[in-house]
Point group: D2
Chain length 137, copies 4
Amino acid sequence: MEKYMYSIGMKVRDYECDIQGVVNNANYQHYMEHARHEFLESLGVSFSALHEQGLDLMVSKITIEYKRPLRGSDMFEVRINMERKGAKLIIRQDIYNLDGDVLATKGEVEVICLDNGRLTRGELFDKLFKDYFTKNA
Amino acid sequence: MEKYMYSIGMKVRDYECDIQGVVNNANYQHYMEHARHEFLESLGVSFSALHEQGLDLMVSKITIEYKRPLRGSDMFEVRINMERKGAKLIIRQDIYNLDGDVLATKGEVEVICLDNGRLTRGELFDKLFKDYFTKNA
Amino acid sequence: MEKYMYSIGMKVRDYECDIQGVVNNANYQHYMEHARHEFLESLGVSFSALHEQGLDLMVSKITIEYKRPLRGSDMFEVRINMERKGAKLIIRQDIYNLDGDVLATKGEVEVICLDNGRLTRGELFDKLFKDYFTKNA
Amino acid sequence: MEKYMYSIGMKVRDYECDIQGVVNNANYQHYMEHARHEFLESLGVSFSALHEQGLDLMVSKITIEYKRPLRGSDMFEVRINMERKGAKLIIRQDIYNLDGDVLATKGEVEVICLDNGRLTRGELFDKLFKDYFTKNA
């Protein structure tokens, strides 16, 4: 079994489901974003505080494979791993339906860091996640 | 310039923007979904009518590259091309900010068709889009 | 202090905030809906299961007073009381910011029950909430 | 027939519908917000530009009566009237399904204006809408 750096449990809300009775595809992106921000917060960092300092973490690319849809009231976990790659942070985010621990979606998110609108080399990522990168080296 | 099969104009609504003042990443998926459904509708086919017949078009994978964020009130177009690939329909969907015709996001969506929950070989795609596939052959 | 029948804790997710840096007004309605469905679920009843039986709980009117906006990462509680009024269920739903237990929004929701599309006299409400109505009589 | 100050046409997008197959209640608030911002924009005023000047239009209360649900692909209009009442602007916003011109929802929104976080007497409203208030006097 894969080991994750961070994991957060959530529950599907009915308004997140669409006519097909399953979670609308775009909402998995919401779950993934929320999980990333909670990860940051667990490290004592707030996404909006960063924004106010002129530091914006921006998603430059996202890939999501939809395996098994989640439905209303399903309990699930968003599990996160990440690595540096040049100026980018590559975050892998898998969503598991806790009923049977079944993979619902498999995601990969590339994040860049802007300082007052200009691309940085990603120094902030090392600062934020240094404990994790070391542990996994 | 690339030729597209279908294109639809839309306008950013303020509630689609987040704290960073730009369209939240997940909302581009909403724009893309709406554009696909409008494309279907332009062919006389309704997404929800298909659902009621037991035919569900499901996204199996999505990739979005975020190039230049859209902001409140921006006018944009979602432009669509597609091709068959085995049982899948591969839909390329680019979003252009009409102010300067600048590429905002570049997307690729893989769609499968379920018939009462079972994967089909995608016969429906040929039926729906046969005029387009022939023209581009 | 008012006594409530049901209460559920939640946390603001950043994507629920808009350009003004506060939770977008429409999202309080989402919180309120989710709290109602969780209340139902705590009684062993699922909103979507009811829908599949032809029973639809529909909001016929909603009033929300916005007192103090919630912001990203705020912890809050949705607290619920309700009473029957003719064919309607009147649900009062207050949202409190847990930082200081400050009232964020004050809501009143009127709900009707349809049986296969036809208005009922609300017999389902008595069945669902009889323990609560008795206790408060 | 009531005469309105402003009206804007829109179309239901499928992702705005929920398990019940109708537009989720909270989304009518989104439609109403978008219509207000478009009204402002038609007067040459941008909601986010106001925000950047420290002027925030905030909804202090909203009431929505749900009459007939909208469904996927429905065309509708949000129609607006307003009047001053002390420091508040009272905006009435009715949503009509264009198929038969049937009233879908009836809304009333109370808006206040904050200047750098402090409540104003609503001078901005007179400035923004003076032509409308005069015409209707």
